[in-house]
Symmetry: C2
Subunit: 364 residues, 2 copies
């Protein structure tokens, strides 16, 4: 593939100097911002991530800031999840849907105060949807993108590294909870979260000027832990069943199809609730499934149709060879007729026809 051309529109992040110095090998663009895709190689990065600890520039997880007297009211319109149960140190995974129940994004909501939330969004301008709703309803709320850039620290040695920089308190942070911890006189939201299943934290760096100082502090503190620059890893995340919005699921999918039905528990009349009622009762007509693809598959750069007797019964948008499990691991959206574990389905890859087999569960 060709090189990427930078511009003000395709934004660099506060950590870009560190990413470049670490020898980034590939980029994608996510929320109008650069996101690294590998350093040494996706395979070598995955192996390192599972053994040591990595620092990831995920500034592209931009925050939609919702602040003001009507903040909770707007959150209740946007969230299928019961916002009244959310505590002040909590992060909530919130699939957001349109009036037909189609997924618009799958942000992590961070509650900062009763009248102040961040939505840490997947790729897509969800702030435009929130803004449209707020303007039309005349809500007393500000919606903007603050100068907040998440930095993820992931891997089995993460607690040790984080404790050296933020203090022993980090060890007490529970999954999807956060503490405000000091760095150079400023307090940052530090949450136990991140897009791997190797354990880790996300630091919501408020103020771009703290970006490189924090990056450098983590690398200085972690030298003996073999800390490296990393990024969301396409092998580890497929093995772990972590879904990529825009690839594995889109606006033509409901949360039930994405296996996220358990998050649709709000008693409020949120947008899309009525449309989701039928699937809440009877289940979805298709759903996310782990798959193994047989043979050599090459790169998956788009969407691969799953075919049965010439009819499409789903598609795969994430597939890669897993050195750890010795098979091609994949994430598919599969019709009910073919989603039972063990079902063999033909798949049309960019590199020829192959067989895919539905699995019982993801690899971790």
């Amino acid at each position: 593939m060709a090189v990427i051309t930078p511009s003000r529109r395709v934004r660099k992040t506060p950590f870009t100097p560190g990413v470049e110095a670490a020898g980034v090998g590939g980029y994608t663009v996510y929320n109008h911002m650069l996101l690294a895709t590998f350093f040494e190689s996706v395979e070598a990065d995955a192996a390192h991530l599972k053994q040591h600890v990595q620092v990831w520039d995920v500034a592209c997880e931009r925050q939609v800031q919702i602040k003001g007297p009507d903040a909770l009211r707007l959150m209740k319109m946007l969230s299928p999840r019961d916002m009244d149960r959310m505590q002040a140190d909590q992060c909530y995974y919130v699939p957001t849907v349109d009036h037909r129940g189609g997924m618009l994004n799958d942000p992590v909501a961070v509650k900062l105060a009763d009248d102040h939330y961040w939505l840490s969004v997947a790729d897509g301008d969800l702030w435009q949807f929130a803004l449209g709703i707020a303007i039309a309803h005349g809500l007393d709320v500000e919606i903007d993108e603050p100068d907040v850039s998440p930095l993820a620290v992931q891997g089995p040695k993460v607690d040790d590294l984080m404790a050296r920089v933020f203090g022993e308190e980090v060890r007490e942070i529970r999954f999807f909870r956060y503490k405000r911890l000091p760095f150079q006189g400023r307090k940052f939201v530090v949450a136990r979260s991140g897009w791997s299943k190797q354990g880790g934290f996300e630091i919501y760096v408020e103020g771009s000027e703290y970006g490189m100082p924090l990056w450098d502090a983590l690398f200085a503190a972690g030298e003996d832990l073999n800390v490296r620059a990393g990024c969301p890893n396409n092998i580890e995340r497929i093995e772990s069943g972590l879904l990529s919005f825009g690839s594995d699921m889109r606006r033509d999918n409901t949360p039930y199809e994405c296996g996220l039905g358990r998050f649709c528990n709000s008693p409020e009349e949120y947008i899309g609730k009525a449309a989701l009622a039928e699937q809440a009762k009877n289940g979805p007509p298709r759903q996310i499934r782990p798959l193994v693809i047989e043979g050599e598959i090459g790169l998956c750069t788009g969407s691969w149709p799953l075919l049965a007797e010439g009819r499409q019964v789903g598609q795969v948008a994430s597939a890669v060879f897993s050195p750890e499990f010795g098979v091609n691991v994949a994430i598919g959206m599969v019709d009910r007729s073919h989603w039972a574990p063990g079902t063999r389905i033909e798949i049309e890859t960019e590199h020829g026809m192959r067989w895919a087999v539905v699995q019982e569960k993801f690899w971790r």
Copy 2:
């Protein structure tokens, strides 16, 4: 810079096989889709564009389709421009703003019928804003992204090439008007428009399966016209003063600051009208200006501050050496205090301090 990593989320276009075969040199991502940035080189591409004719994959100008009984009502909420004057074969440049008058996008609206519009958008999910407004107001309108991929044909020889493929009728199409013209049994909207000032058309290709056949037909018909694959050209567009949303202007700018005040003429109570009243009366505090930057400047990969006595008085996000005019041409957003032609302002480039001089007008 590093290579770009393709995925389903960063979409290929119906014309990508043609773009790849033509030897694309660089990509950016625009509306979650690949957009070429150069083929031979930005300089060589510009020289060819000004002499011959090029075919551009601008499928990333995605359409926000607004269709239904309330389509015009929604358009009147979104558009600062008087939609009642728009005729059925017309394209309208429509700067769209939020409730504070900040730019959300600068699409070209295409009127297909009284109850059917496309907004051909710049980079950004404006459909999410439109959808939020429509849902909150309970409008009877469908908002989605149809399978429509614009293909631009640009350059001085464009009328001859287009006439060979679409018939002599194309010559009669006036600027920002369109005709529905046949190709392989299907009729496409063919508008006289495009992101250069070399003359040209945009074909709104409805149905991805027509993409490569049309691409191939244009190249077959244009061999003796020296037709080549091209893309929006960073030299030609800066010389021409064509603004890039996200780079030259963003949500923190009003249409008046972007020199687009003349498009804010709607008698309706569109979103942001009240907020724009003050600037409509007294003019904006800063505005887009052409600049020449002295010395060698290298690549502009972000935003360069304009400085006067240590104070920031604007910024430049588009700057490049123009072989035709023999100077570094640039587009800046400049404070009123410094926007008079001839004003010299210090500019902090990625490659050192330089001097910028405000120009009377763009180069064409």
